[in-house]
């Protein structure tokens, strides 16, 4: 593995290797006096964030630091510079500094892929526009496997703004690789064109899907899109596609509730649901660090990245 750009690039073997490595990272890190491993000592990981992000940036930073890598964080809120040009210039700068791995988040789909042409080091896509967010899908898969013991044959409902969601795209690809059955649940206006070619079923009635679901993955309603007339009002959305206590009760006993964060409590998910024992949202955050440690380890071991 040289880069991690898309969950669709992972076959069953490499995806399983990442989850298994994350599990061993967990075992290696638990109950220790020193919560740090020397594995990536002397390697430089650059976090390059062109979009606001707290949890993903901090998670990657924690993962790299726990493996003793040197971490440099660029929060390049480059709204004033033209994107193609500034991205290339930034890449050349990083190249000159000798970054072994670059973790990139950008508002343009394909940005991470573009970087690979300019850098010798590994590139990890931490979210590119509405395209993909592979490590989120990996940590979701890890969390499901941790809680339910398997992925194959599970019924997963991904609910909400599929159209703008890179989390949904990465999850569809990865869950399909693991043999889970994915149903997208959304208002028709938020279902992407061409979804017919995706390996999923599409449903518009959340209540009908609930009893036949092992995992409910709620997506954030992106408030910035509320005015684009995708649905009449926030209240209406919440009534039809929000997960409240009544809907939670309709799920099978073993089913779990997930959310990539940040949550709009009371909008797509009720506070009582987010804090219920069925919710694995906090586990997702903890597992995010482990999965990203696994990805950095697999990318950076033996990889002669960096120019310096």
């Amino acid at each position: 593995m040289e880069h991690l750009l898309s969950a669709a690039d992972l076959d069953l073997e490499s995806a399983t290797l990442i989850l298994d490595t994350a599990k061993e990272m967990d075992a290696a890190m638990s109950g220790r006096e020193v919560r740090k491993l020397p594995t990536l000592r002397g390697r430089t990981v650059v976090n390059l964030f062109f979009e606001d992000s707290t949890r993903t940036r901090v998670s990657f930073e924690a993962a790299a630091k726990r493996l003793s890598a040197d971490v440099v964080t660029f929060s390049a809120k480059g709204s004033s510079v033209s994107k193609g040009e500034s991205l290339k210039d930034t890449a050349l700068t990083l190249q000159a500094m000798g970054a072994d791995a670059v973790v990139v988040r950008h508002s343009a789909a394909g940005a991470a892929n573009r970087l690979t042409g300019w850098l010798d080091g590994s590139v990890v896509n931490a979210g590119d526009g509405t395209h993909e967010h592979p490590t989120q899908a990996l940590l979701d898969a890890y969390t499901i496997r941790q809680r339910l013991g398997r992925l194959e044959g599970l019924r997963v409902a991904v609910v909400g703004d599929i159209l703008h969601s890179r989390v949904a795209r990465s999850n569809v690809a990865l869950l399909n690789t693991f043999g889970a059955k994915v149903t997208l649940v959304a208002p028709p206006t938020l279902v992407p064109v061409g979804v017919g070619s995706w390996p999923v079923e599409v449903a518009y009635d959340f209540d009908a899907v609930l009893p036949h679901t092992d995992v409910v993955m709620m997506l954030r309603v992106q408030a910035e899109r509320m005015n684009a007339s995708f649905f009449p009002s926030a209240r209406e959305y919440s009534r039809r596609y929000g997960l409240d206590g009544a809907r939670l009760a309709r799920l099978p006993d073993e089913a779990i509730v997930m959310h990539p964060g940040p949550m709009n409590r009371g909008m797509e998910i009720a506070a009582s649901v987010a804090d219920s024992p069925r919710s694995v949202i906090v586990d997702q955050v903890a597992n995010g660090v482990l999965v990203r440690m696994a990805v950095l380890y697999l990318l950076l071991s033996g990889h002669k990245g960096g120019a310096a």
Binding site: R32, E33, G302
Partner: protein
């Protein structure tokens, strides 16, 4: 972990019966050295050190009725050759609930060679806690040390050339117990 294949038509250097006798002997030596205290922990180094540690614990239990906690300590993340060798799959780390603080930790591995693996294990161990003693038990010592490291319990000293390859097979993973040596072509 890939299964190691038997070399057809080749005589093993150590047979299954030899290995059983060696394990029994090392179990007795551990009992002798520790005086049968209840302060010992056996940690196998994946992959093949893990079943060897488990067998030592079983034999000690048979001989003296002592329950010695045993587990595994993966050293992959502590290796110094990751840049050269590429990413390896991680092995299991499973430290007994009693921990390692103030214990006599006996590291168990199949082959002692350059000593790099043991160096990595020592670093890993001291990140977990502070043992009172650390000892090393190996099934085969093939020489060619590159670090000042020696084993406290040795199954068999095996003079080898650098180009020889020593493979240890254990029944839990490879279907049989045996040690083979592929000698360098003369």
């Amino acid at each position: 972990m890939a299964q190691r294949a038997r070399d057809p038509g080749k005589r093993p250097l150590l047979s299954s019966a030899d290995i059983a006798r060696i394990i029994d002997r090392i179990a007795h030596q551990i009992l002798e050295k520790t005086g049968g205290d209840d302060n010992t922990v056996l940690l196998g180094i994946p992959t093949r050190g893990v079943p060897l540690a488990r067998r030592l614990a079983e034999r000690i239990k048979t001989f003296e009725g002592l329950d010695v906690p045993h587990g595994s300590l993966d050293v992959t993340l502590y290796r110094d050759d990751l840049r050269m060798r590429g990413a390896r799959a991680l092995g299991p780390t499973d430290i007994p609930a009693s921990g390692v603080d103030d214990k006599r930790v006996i590291l168990v591995d199949d082959v002692l060679y350059s000593g790099r693996t043991v160096r990595a294990a020592l670093n890993g161990l001291y990140d977990l806690g502070r043992p009172a003693w650390v000892q090393l038990a190996v099934l085969v010592d093939r020489g060619h040390r590159r670090l000042p490291i020696r084993a406290d319990y040795v199954g068999k000293n095996l003079p080898t050339a650098i180009a020889d390859s020593v493979s240890v097979l254990v029944s839990e993973m490879d279907g049989e117990d045996a040690v083979y040596v592929d000698r360098e072509e003369q």
